[in-house]
Symmetry: C2
Subunit: 252 residues, 2 copies
DNA sequence: CCGGTCTGTTCTTCACAGCGGAAGAGTAGC
DNA sequence: GCTACTCTTCCGCTGTGAAGAACAGACCGG
């Protein structure tokens, strides 16, 4: 039996026990969570709110809480530390050039995960989303990666029962368009007031994490200008290519 | 983008962010974790210790931390709240009869999870392990459940590369013995100074959570008496049968 | 529809738990 | 053995986390 750490953190213990309960037992009422943890209902409510905020829990319509995406992973984690290390200086240079927030994204299953961000300096800007998850079929970087996949693979991913995509054919048409243009735009589909442009990192080899990685520029919709799109796209794809080249160099 | 809860808990936020980093990016050094969270190394160390304690992280020999079992689940959670509700009074009655700690266990994949415990009142006793995880092939309740499975299924579970079981044939021989006797004993294989006797709950129907549930009596090895084993086994299997009957009634 | 019960959410106060700096310990390479 | 790097332990202090209470919402039965 593991011993409690000497310098344990009680609040963290409560949160982790609750997360494990959700993962192992499924739907829980707030009042039951409070009882199981031996805390006040208001404390349990605060803990659940934090778990929901960080995607360890979700609240259903019947008000019960269930495990969130982080606890519902269906694939083993893959190390992306190296990709992040290589990409980050390029992200920062791109952000410096355009003074908008840029992101490194990895697609796992049907989720687009923000691995790294570099924030612009303007007062109104999109914040750091590292660690967050968006549906891949809506996010700009997610769609840029999906556009690099075989159509059969996309069908396998989104054609199953319970899929978040009602019309796979419409998605495939969108992805063909993304493929032709070389980038994808997400205009407020996932976040109010945010427009993002995404482009996939050209994969040096099939497989590996870079085969599912993308960059995106995320800016307040108020600053999105159609006439600047070619410039943003050019910088985005140039940066993606630089990262791809450095990944090759790093492997040699 | 989700808003931070109004009554957020900073320490919990740190822990959950760190857990998500481990899940998404794999191996992390303590110093890198500290930098990523923006906290002191001593704080990161405390957080990682809590994550390890609650099975959200593991530390490898090279000292890096990786995602732990809770974050590495490969199966969707199943609700066991109902099973727990039905079983708990019976657990408590059994504990009262023998004054030793009893447990309800559910096997998921190759893990035996403690869903509920009822503690004896003696000064030296096995504590409440609800929420904990043990390897199923070593735990008494885990082995009792594995003994109810097809041998092909056990082979599929433990015959793969990277399996924790080196000799599947030896495991199958053990499980045949468990099946014949109707119970399994775990004498200090998972926890120093603890001996446990486990018996599976007879499944009312194939599938469902009860098909992978077991009860166990856990006592200090110093109090384990071979001549009391028949009594303990009889009480254990009687209790398991009562629970199984009540599960059937509850579905009608 | 109303009242009662149950459950979830919001707010405030205060004491002690969580944080970080510093010291100590461990590891790896030359 | 020495140096540099990294991890682990310890302690004091203040602001954060917990819980009580009030409020709000949901549900059910008469």
């Amino acid at each position: 039996m593991k011993n409690r750490p000497v310098y344990g953190i009680q609040s963290v213990d409560h949160a982790l026990r609750l997360a494990a309960l959700l993962a192992q037992e499924g739907p829980l009422r707030l009042s039951e969570a409070a009882e199981r943890l031996g805390v006040a209902r208001s404390t349990a409510h605060r803990l659940l709110a934090m778990l929901v905020y960080r995607d360890f829990a979700e609240q259903r319509e019947d008000r019960r809480y269930v495990a969130g995406p982080v606890l519902r992973r269906v694939e083993a984690p893959e190390p992306v530390t190296e990709l992040r290390r290589i990409a980050l200086p390029h992200l920062q240079a791109l952000t410096e050039a355009i003074d908008e927030t840029t992101n490194l994204i990895v697609v796992v299953g049907d989720q687009a995960r923000f691995v790294a961000s570099a924030e612009g300096t303007q007062v109104l800007r999109v914040g750091d989303r590292a660690g967050r998850v968006l549906p891949a079929h809506l996010a700009s970087g997610g769609r840029a990666v999906l556009a690099t996949l075989d159509e059969d693979r996309v069908r396998a991913l989104y054609g199953r029962a319970g899929s978040p995509v009602a019309d796979v054919d419409a998605l495939l048409r969108d992805l063909r368009r993304v493929r032709r243009r070389g980038f994808a735009v997400n205009d407020r589909k996932t976040e109010t007031g945010v427009t993002a442009i995404g482009a996939a990192i050209p994969a040096p080899t099939a497989g590996g994490v870079a085969a599912r990685a993308a960059l995106s520029i995320a800016l307040p919709t108020a600053r999105y200008r159609r006439d600047r799109l070619p410039e943003w796209v050019a910088r985005l794809t140039t940066t993606a290519e630089r990262i791809a080249h450095e990944l090759v160099d790093d492997q040699a």
